[in-house]
Symmetry: C2
């Protein structure tokens, strides 16, 4: 995959229960209520109920999630070059 | 359009700056930082910067938004049959 493709961040959500995300760099944590990931457009927190990762393919920067989605929340775009760790510390300290 | 089509709620976001939403019942308010709408899957608040409605077609239940998207936040699914008003009163009172 080219570097250009990796940098496209797309979110497709259907009926609040199926979420496909591209441009994913890493998944920092996940459980049934919260999934924390780093995308090429910044850190992203997904909150909901009965969340589950259906498909995670970091070679293609793709993630598929099932469950009821309540909140998608981005951090400001500055985390692009960071590992994400410092950003979370700032937010949740 | 059939009733079935109206009930499909899909969100497509590209690079955090272009948002296409179907299954939109009404837009309650919008400004550059916050757009409040009612969808067939519940109330939805979009927060960001420089937000603007590019296209609103309630006959097709479609909405297009440009701007930097920071947060998509749904209310719980119970608002499905309500006008949306009671839900916002509960949240923002």
């Amino acid at each position: 995959m080219s570097e250009k493709e990796e940098r496209i961040h797309k979110v497709i959500m259907e009926d609040r229960k199926l979420l496909r995300i591209t441009g994913v760099r890493k998944v920092s944590s996940f459980d049934t209520k919260e999934i924390v990931l780093d995308t090429v457009k910044g850190g992203l927190v997904i909150k909901g109920q009965d969340l589950g990762v259906q498909n995670l393919n970091l070679e293609n920067s793709e993630l598929e999630i099932e469950g009821q989605v309540d909140i998608l929340s981005y951090l400001t775009g500055r985390s692009k070059e960071s590992s994400g760790r410092g950003v979370w510390e700032r937010v949740f300290k």
